[in-house]
């Protein structure tokens, strides 16, 4: 199977769903725009445990206790610091004073904290790590959800095939909207959300979803 064949298959499934096997009404460029938009919508809604293909790991060493976020960074799950991989605790910006003055939350190499904020020196957003040493150059691991790559006739989607029907549902909804078929678009949206609920229910509620898949609720 050549690169892009899966994307083309999704494109043509959408065409079948809207009853336009050829490019007579909705254009291919729009279908891909809607399919790519669908990936972002799915990634906001689907539990991260259900899309392991969109998770990534960045490693390196800090410079002055901070590091640039990975280029494909969307949202983090875990930050580990040092050769022994101490898990850093995410810290509230409004409580930074406590890291300097509260003995119960004193940062150290074995009790690290992190936050994401702009840095004046770098004039950019940085992941800041607090280990009690502003010049720290410890090793780090950032477990994060990555941003997707747009699909096209030559680029396949990164999301697993189990989620492809969601992309088609969403894209079909957008095509219906474009035609002004708003009632049908809303019906499709409700079905799309119901499928997402069903998938999410396989992963534990109210917790980090790196757990094993379970039966549907």
């Amino acid at each position: 199977m050549a690169a892009g064949d899966i994307a083309k298959s999704l494109r043509d499934t959408v065409r079948a769903r809207i009853g336009e096997p050829s490019e007579t009404g909705v254009e291919t460029v729009d279908i891909y725009a809607f399919l790519n938009e669908a990936v972002y919508d799915v990634m906001w809604r689907i539990n991260d445990g259900a899309m392991p293909e969109m998770t990534d790991l960045a490693t390196g060493t800090l410079t002055n206790s901070r590091v640039a976020l990975p280029a494909t960074f969307w949202r983090e799950w875990l930050v580990q610091i040092g050769a022994s991989d101490y898990v850093a605790q995410q810290w509230d910006i409004s409580e930074l004073d406590a890291l300097a003055n509260n003995t119960l939350t004193a940062p150290s190499a074995t009790n690290p904290y992190y936050f994401v904020w702009y840095n004046v020196t770098d004039a950019a957003i940085r992941l800041h790590v607090e280990v009690g040493n502003p010049a720290d150059s410890s090793a780090y691991d950032i477990f994060f959800v990555k941003t997707p790559t747009d699909m096209s006739d030559s680029v396949d989607p990164e999301l697993t095939a189990a989620l492809h029907e969601l992309l088609v549902d969403y894209c079909t909804m957008r095509c219906r909207e474009q035609r002004g078929e708003y009632g049908e678009a809303e019906r499709l949206r409700r079905g799309y959300i119901a499928k997402i609920d069903a998938i999410n229910s396989r992963y534990r509620e109210g917790s980090r979803n790196e757990g094993r898949g379970g039966d549907a609720n």
Binding site: V29, D30, A33, F34, E37, Y40, D41, M43, W44, R45, N47, D48, G49, W74, R75, E76, W77, Q90, W91, D92, I93, S94, E95, L96, D97, A100, F115, V116, W117, Y118, N119, V120, I125, V145, T147, R174, E177, Q178, R179, G180, Y182, G183, E186, R189, R190, I193, D197, N200, S201, Y203, E205, G206, S207, R208, N209
Partner: protein, 231 residues
Amino acid sequence: MAAGDISKTMLSRVRARLGDKAGNTWSSSTLYAFLNDGFRALAQEVPDGALFHLTRIDSQALVGAQSNYDLPTSYLRPRIVKYKTLYAKRWPIRDLQALRTNTAYTPSETEPYWYIWDNDLHFVVGTVTQGNGEKYELWYLKQPVTISASVDPELPRQYFLPVETYAVSRALESISGPDETGQGAAAEAKRQMALFHELCFVMALRFRTDVPYDGTPNDPDLRALREAVTA
């Protein structure tokens, strides 16, 4: 990719959703205005933890005997303030008298307080001194940049969907007449705006903690998500 190309792509997607690719119904300037309204609405609805791309620090030199300083032009809302090397305490305006007469509070350069009023950042520290180029820092959320055909948004792609949905809603609203059937452009504008709020809610769920605003991304609370969907 040239400056503005990302904005132009957003405009194209909105036009595709509206079925107005040539601009026969909506001008580009109108749709850019709606997109910019969408970015501003997003910045008001989504927790700060999800808006780290909009964080900034205004670091300025203190001036001896001067207690108030202009807010940065891009200022949206504050988070914390450092006075020289110390984190200053935010103080409510209505309680200013306490800083003058209540012996429990003794503002000084080693116990600094701050508040925002009249578009200025004010320090209550006794008298501001300046010895060696010492600075203050205002850690704040900035307003989203106004996008155009030559200016791109600073928020990344994953934030475009709600913003474009907001613009679609506003565009449909602008051509809608009385909503007598509940099925025309007015109803669709209302539906699209509900989708915008729903997406903001989903984003908020991913960045919630017991502490307001900040938080590690988490999975959506499904019951809450269902309520949002069926609202």
